[in-house]
């Protein structure tokens, strides 16, 4: 495996939310996606610091959009997952998959 980058659980959730949202991924929509799909209400502060960390790791990139009047004339900061991010995410999720193999966790066998 070329990349040795490890992602935390919260980081994996954010990356998955960004991938699902595609071009519409920015602060507000990512938080909404996490609240609905992952049933995880995330405070704006927690999300922005995590995004900064992910950008510093080279896992996501961001670009400023156009200013919109609904946002007081402020631009959106669109984020996207990089190729490195995809590789790191795949690697983390494959680890889960391998560990889940042979377990009957979802049918309550280990309750």
């Amino acid at each position: 495996m070329a990349s040795a980058l490890n992602l935390g659980e919260f980081e994996q959730l954010i990356l998955l939310a960004i991938l699902r949202l595609g071009d519409d991924a920015y602060g507000v929509t990512i938080r909404a996606e996490l609240a609905v799909r992952a049933e995880r209400p995330v405070s704006p502060g927690a999300l922005y610091t995590a995004l900064q960390r992910l950008e510093a790791k080279g896992v996501v990139t961001s670009r400023m959009g156009d200013p919109t009047p609904q946002r007081g004339g402020r631009a959106k900061r669109h984020v996207a997952v990089t190729a490195l991010g995809i590789r790191a995410l795949r690697r983390s999720l494959q680890a889960y998959q391998r560990l889940l193999d042979g377990l009957d966790l979802f049918r309550g066998a280990h309750a």
């Binding site: 920015y26 602060g27 405070s43 502060g45 922005y48 900064q52 609904q70 007081g72 402020r74 959106k76």
Partner: protein, 182 residues
Amino acid sequence: MRDIDRAQRLLGLFTSADCAEAIAGDLIEERRSHGGFWFWRHVLGTVLAVSRSAVTDAPLQALNLVAAGCALFAIPAFAGVAAVSLFPQLIGTLVSWIVLSLFWWGGGLWTGASLATIAPTRGMAACVVLALAPMLIPRYRVLGVTRRAHGRSSAPSTGYGFGRLAEDVVRVIDAIGVKRPS
């Protein structure tokens, strides 16, 4: 200066200009459904979160920020203390100025500025509000309300509990016709 400008300036002290603009925009976008209190709570929450991560990620830069922050608050504080020591009669003005600036930075807290906002809290008589009144009068109607059992009113040992206080506040609010007590 509007709330969003103030928020963006504050965020800009702790993060890049682009980030501050986008975060302020995100928060103002959500403010419509969550309200002004939510907005300021999360502006401050984001500032705290960003500065906390700055401490862990770049301790030196964080030290600079702390120094800048101390200077920002220390200069007016020293000036205020010096002024009061020279002219003791200024103490009321200094206290009013501090309280007013807190209110001012609260931004949205001003909306619906009403009796409930400036009603004296437990233990305070209406006369305390008088110190602030001159600065509020140009924009608001200022009413001072003294709680039961304060000042020269009677103070029986029972019957003046929080239930009665709440009832009194509601009555005063109804009497002066406040629609949205904040």
